[in-house]
Amino acid sequence: MTDLAVATQGLTKRFGSQVAVDTVDLAVPRGAVYGFLGPNGSGKTTTIRMLLGLISPTAGGHELLGSAMPERAAEVLPRVGALVEGPGFHPYLSGRDNLRRLDAADRTAEARTADARIAAALDRVGLSAAAAKRYRSYSLGMKQRLAIAAALLLPRDLLILDEPTNGLDPQGTREVRALVGTLAAEGATVLLSTHLLAEVEQVCTHVGVMHRGKLVAQQPLSRLRSDAAPRARVLTDQPAQAARVLRTLGLTEIAETAAEASGQLGAAAPEKVVAALVHDGVAVRGFAVEAPSLEDVFVSLTGRGFDVSG
């Protein structure tokens, strides 16, 4: 048995002459919270649709939880909870009746436990009070919560969540991120597609970056961070003198402004830098070691800002 919850080999999808997904090799380890990051239009949703068997790849293949897809979809998909490209429900049914319908369609779900499982799923996303209301009258955030509840009707080994915090208010966003953490702690693997860098920084252990249909990076988040060199920043009214000290300590890419000096730490220990500055009589008003933000890393990977892929 493989230790990957999601594995794709050269997954490719062409729509006419346009290549939406280009030879993607995803590797999501079991137990990971995998941030599937990329701007809108970078091929994330198309990839997810292929993972779930909704569209067939032009080339390549994949396994979910060690089972080949789409051949073994009937066995493996009941263990996968999915939220794909926003919620989709019958507007004239209540939230609860919509979940009932999905549960009724699942041949692995027991009818006898349906009501209890549906109530638990609604409770988990904070939708119990609105369960009897028609879906039509739900706000965008409530719709999104219902879609997450649908993914939690049964215990899942893998959750594929496409932009789960879309349309949620800050409170709802926090709740959903906490929920993702809880699900992961309970042992589920989570593939979380998002275009929000902060979301990845808060909840993910691994990250894969999509750009124009290609997977341009795929690593544990910690390694992606450590690969990018941290910088030391000195706040002072003597930036020239501070910069000189930093240079003698072996820091590189020194930068000076009117009120600060900074440089890439390299092998230098931060505490030695502070001691050397003080020893040389530099008036240190503030000192910080900053890892580059994920956004900087992202820009360095894709060579461009975080806007819609053409």
Binding site: M1, R30, G31, R49, L52, G53, L54, I55, S56, L65, A73, A74, E75, V76, L77, P78, R79, V80, A82, V84, E85, G86, P87, G88, F89, H90, P91, Y92, L93, R100, R101, L102, A104, A105, D106, R107, T108, E110, A111, A120, A121, R124, A147, A150, L152, L154, P155, R156, D157, L159, L183, E186, G187, A188, T189
Partner: protein
């Protein structure tokens, strides 16, 4: 709610839950309820109109209508005959057009498929829902017509098209036969509708296309120059239900209609499967 250690494939059960859910989905839909009410209104309007303005029976009016004043039983037949060219096909087209395209349009299709519902199973359940509607609709029209007919014109022995008289009980049995025959005919229309519904993500488009197809079939059937085409028309044998009102019943005369319906069902369900089984679901 997660369990990473449940690596064994879950047990799949055979259950009618999804089918029942589908029937319920069709039944609770306000639009379908209004549609059924409209179907039921036709025999009522027909019977009341005849009661109020008792027609002169010598002006060549259709057989059933002329006989209504003598026996309320014929309200049911007259209503079925009147609704067969447009109202009943529209009702089937509403349900059939919605079958796959409606789910695609609302985004529920992708969630059903990831449950997972196998695509063949989905088509089977959707078609079962259409067939249920195809049998329910004529039964409802007949039951309403019978009820209002008996109230306004009374019952009694029924004179058949062949001139013989049968008891009211046997007449009811024959009426049931008519409804079942029409149910089969409308199921064939529904199979075409299911196929159309897999072609588009706009349910109304499939509904309108099926209605137009049905009407066009009736119109083409009335053009004598196209008699080479007539045997292949979907609606060609629908009015054959009158055979059930002769004595003795000529089941042989019903066979072409049933075979034609069966052929339509097989061809278009196969086409629906061929179209839907490998289709990319992008809504």
């Amino acid at each position: 709610m997660s369990a990473a250690d449940t690596s064994a494939a879950p047990v799949r059960r055979f259950s009618s839950r999804f089918l029942r859910s589908e029937l319920r989905l069709i039944a609770v839909r306000r639009r379908n309820q209004v549609g059924l009410a409209a179907l039921a209104a036709v025999p009522i309007v027909l019977a009341v109109a005849i009661k109020v303005a008792a027609p002169d029976t010598s002006d060549g009016a259709p057989d059933f209508v002329a006989q209504i004043t003598g026996n309320g039983f014929f309200v049911a037949l007259a209503a079925l005959s009147a609704e067969l060219t447009l109202f009943l096909p529209i009702a089937i087209a509403m349900v059939a057009g919605d079958a796959v395209a409606g789910e695609a349009d609302q985004g529920t299709l992708r969630y059903l498929l990831t449950v997972p519902v196998g695509r063949i199973r989905l088509l089977a359940v959707k078609y079962a829902g259409i067939v249920a509607g195809a049998f329910l609709a004529p039964l409802l029209v007949a039951a309403t017509g019978l009820t209002v007919g008996l109230i306004l014109f009374g019952g009694g022995d029924v004179t058949l098209l062949s001139g013989t008289q049968v008891g009211f009980g046997e007449a009811l049995l024959r009426l049931l036969g008519v409804c079942l025959y029409l149910g089969v005919c409308l199921s064939a229309l529904g199979a075409v509708g299911l196929f159309l519904s897999t072609l588009t993500v706009q349910p109304m488009g499939a509904t309108i296309a099926l209605t137009m197809l049905s009407v066009a079939s009736v119109v083409l059937g009335q053009i004598p120059q196209l008699d080479w085409l007539h045997p292949y028309l979907l609606t060609r044998h629908w009015q054959d239900f009158g055979e059930l009102l002769r004595d003795p019943v000529s089941f042989g005369a019903l066979t072409p209609g049933l075979l034609s319906a069966l052929a339509y069902i097989v061809v278009f369900l196969t086409a629906a499967w061929a179209r839907f089984a490998g289709r990319d679901v992008t809504t």
